[in-house]
Symmetry: C2
Subunit: 281 residues, 2 copies
C-alpha cells in the first residue's frame, strides 16, 4: 500500500492505471475510520482492479464556528485499517496544496444545497461538491463510493455528476449502525456517555416514522410531531431539523406519497448528529 | 469526419480513443467559423492524434437581453470548413440535452468573473465555465485550445483548470485580425458598413496604448484617456470599458509595470465588440 501526498503524483499514478485499462474504485473520506467507512472500502475492493481512498479533512466544508480544528484524526490507525481492507493507495494531501492561494473556483448545486443541513451550515455543500470534484479530477476513478448516512451529500453529488457529465459512476451504501441503532459517525467520539445513550432515540424515532407510514398515516406533520416529541423526551437532545422530504427535490412533502427521505439533525451538547431513513410510500 | 449529437456517444468515442492511448485535441466553439477559429483547429490538428470541435451556442452565457436568438449560425458552412481543417469529430449537442431540467450545477471562478466583461454581462462567465467544464467531461481532451480575443475567458478557464486540478492542458492562440486590424469575431457579421469602418479604431487605440507604454508612459490614466478620446472620435462607438489590468488579478493597475492586459469593450450600434493587447512593461 502506497501513501501519496502530492497531487501530481496521485494523478500520474491514476493516469497510468487507467492507460493500462485498469478500473479504479475511490472512497473519499475525512478519516477516523469506522465500520461505515470499512463497508465502503470492502465494496470498492470487490468491484475494482485498484482501490484508492483519500483522507482529507476539507476546510472549505466547515463553517467558521464548526469543529474543523477538533475533528478527530488518527492517520496511523486509519492506515492500518486501510491496509486490512486491501487499499492500494491512500491519497493524503495537505490543505495548502489543495487550495493554493489565491484559490477562486467553486462548484455549487443550487436549491439542493440550501435546505436541511445546508440551511444550518451555509456554504457546507459548496465546500463538499468542490472538494469532491477536485478529488475526482485527481484520482480519476471509474466508480466512487459514498455512505448513505450523509443522504443529502449523496443526492447532491449524484446531481453534480449527472449535471456536469462526469464520466464516473457513484454508488451509495447503507448506513452502518451500532447494535443499539446509533448511526456510526466519526463525530460519535465527541459524545459523553449519557449523550451517547440518549442519541439512540434518533434511530428509534426514524423507525417509528417508518412504522407510521407503513400503517397508512398520510399527514407528514403528524409523523414529524411524533418524532419531535420522542427526541425531546431525552434531556440533552436539541433539534436542528426533522423533516420528511421528496428524494429528488429535498423539499418537504405535504402528503406521504412516492420516494421519501425522513431525515433529522439533532445536537447533543455541541455534537450535531444526523440520521435518516428512506421509504417508498 | 463524424458529427455526434449525443452526449453518451461523444463520451464513449473519446473513452475508446483515450483507452487506445491516442491524444485528443479539442476546440470548443459557438460556430460561424472565421479565420481565428481555423487557426485553433490547425494548431490542434498538428499537435494531436484526433481533433474534436464542438459547436454549441450556449444559452447560459447569454443575458436575457443579449443576442442568443440572433447569434449567427451556419452549420453547413462550419462543417465544410471543419472537414478542410482535418476535424475528426464535430460534437453538436442540443441545448435541452446539455441542460436537462431541472438543471442545478454551476461552476464559478470568483473575482475574475465579476470584472471587465463580467461586470457588463452578469452571469456570463459562470455560463462559460460551466459549459466548458461539461464539454471537457464529455470530450475528455488532452489539450483544449482557446483564442486570445476572449482574453478574460482564457484567463478564467486557465484558473478553473488549475483550481479544479483538471487533467487537461490549455493552449491559447493569438487574435486573428483583418488586414485593417479589426479583430475577427462571429459578431462582426452584425456590423453595418460604416460601423465596420469605424470599429477599426479599436485596434488603432490598442496600438497607440502599446506605443505609449513602450515609450515610457507610466500613468495608466493618461493612456486610457487617450484611448477613450480616439474611440469617441468615431461617431457610433459607445464605450463599455477601456482598462489596463494586471494579467493575473484582472484588476486595474495604478502604475504601468509587469504583465498587463490592455482591454476594451465598445458598442457599435447594438453590437458589442471586444479587443485587447498584452504587454510586459
Amino acid at each position: 500500500m502506497k501513501v501519496i501526498s502530492s497531487i501530481n503524483g496521485m494523478q500520474n499514478w491514476s493516469k497510468q492505471m487507467r492507460c493500462k485499462g485498469k478500473t479504479i474504485g475511490f472512497v473519499p473520506m475525512m478519516g477516523y475510520l469506522h465500520e461505515g467507512h470499512l463497508s465502503l472500502l470492502r465494496k470498492a475492493r470487490e468491484e475494482n482492479d485498484y482501490l484508492v481512498m483519500s483522507i482529507f479533512v476539507n476546510p472549505t466544508q466547515f463553517g467558521p464556528k464548526e469543529d474543523l480544528g477538533r475533528y478527530p484524526r488518527d492517520f496511523g490507525r486509519d492506515k492500518k485499517l486501510a491496509k486490512l481492507c486491501g487499499v492500494d493507495v491512500i491519497f493524503y494531501p495537505e490543505a495548502k496544496k489543495m487550495y493554493p492561494a489565491p484559490y477562486k473556483t467553486y462548484v455549487e448545486v443550487e436549491d439542493l444545497s440550501d435546505v436541511l443541513c445546508g440551511k444550518s451550515r451555509p456554504g457546507h455543500f459548496r465546500g463538499v461538491t468542490t472538494v469532491v470534484l477536485k478529488l475526482f479530477n485527481i484520482v480519476l476513478p471509474n466508480t466512487a463510493y459514498f455512505g448513505w448516512k450523509d443522504a443529502q451529500q449523496a443526492i447532491i453529488i449524484n446531481k453534480m455528476v449527472k449535471d456536469l457529465n462526469l464520466p464516473i459512476k457513484i454508488k451509495t451504501l447503507p448506513i452502518a449502525r451500532e447494535e443499539n441503532g446509533l448511526a456510526l459517525s466519526s463525530r460519535n467520539t465527541y459524545l459523553k456517555e449519557d449523550q451517547r445513550r440518549q442519541a439512540i432515540i434518533l434511530d428509534k424515532a426514524l423507525q417509528v416514522a417508518v412504522g407510521m407510514i407503513q400503517s397508512g398515516y398520510k399527514d407528514p406533520r403528524r409523523i414529524v410531531a411524533k418524532m419531535r416529541k420522542m427526541i425531546k423526551s431525552q434531556k440533552t437532545g436539541r433539534i436542528d431539523y426533522v423533516e420528511i422530504v421528496d428524494m429528488n427535490t429535498l423539499k418537504p412533502v405535504k402528503k406521504i406519497k412516492g420516494r421519501l427521505l425522513i431525515c433529522l439533525a439533532v445536537f447533543f451538547g455541541k455534537t450535531r448528529l444526523i440520521d435518516n431513513a428512506i421509504i417508498c410510500a
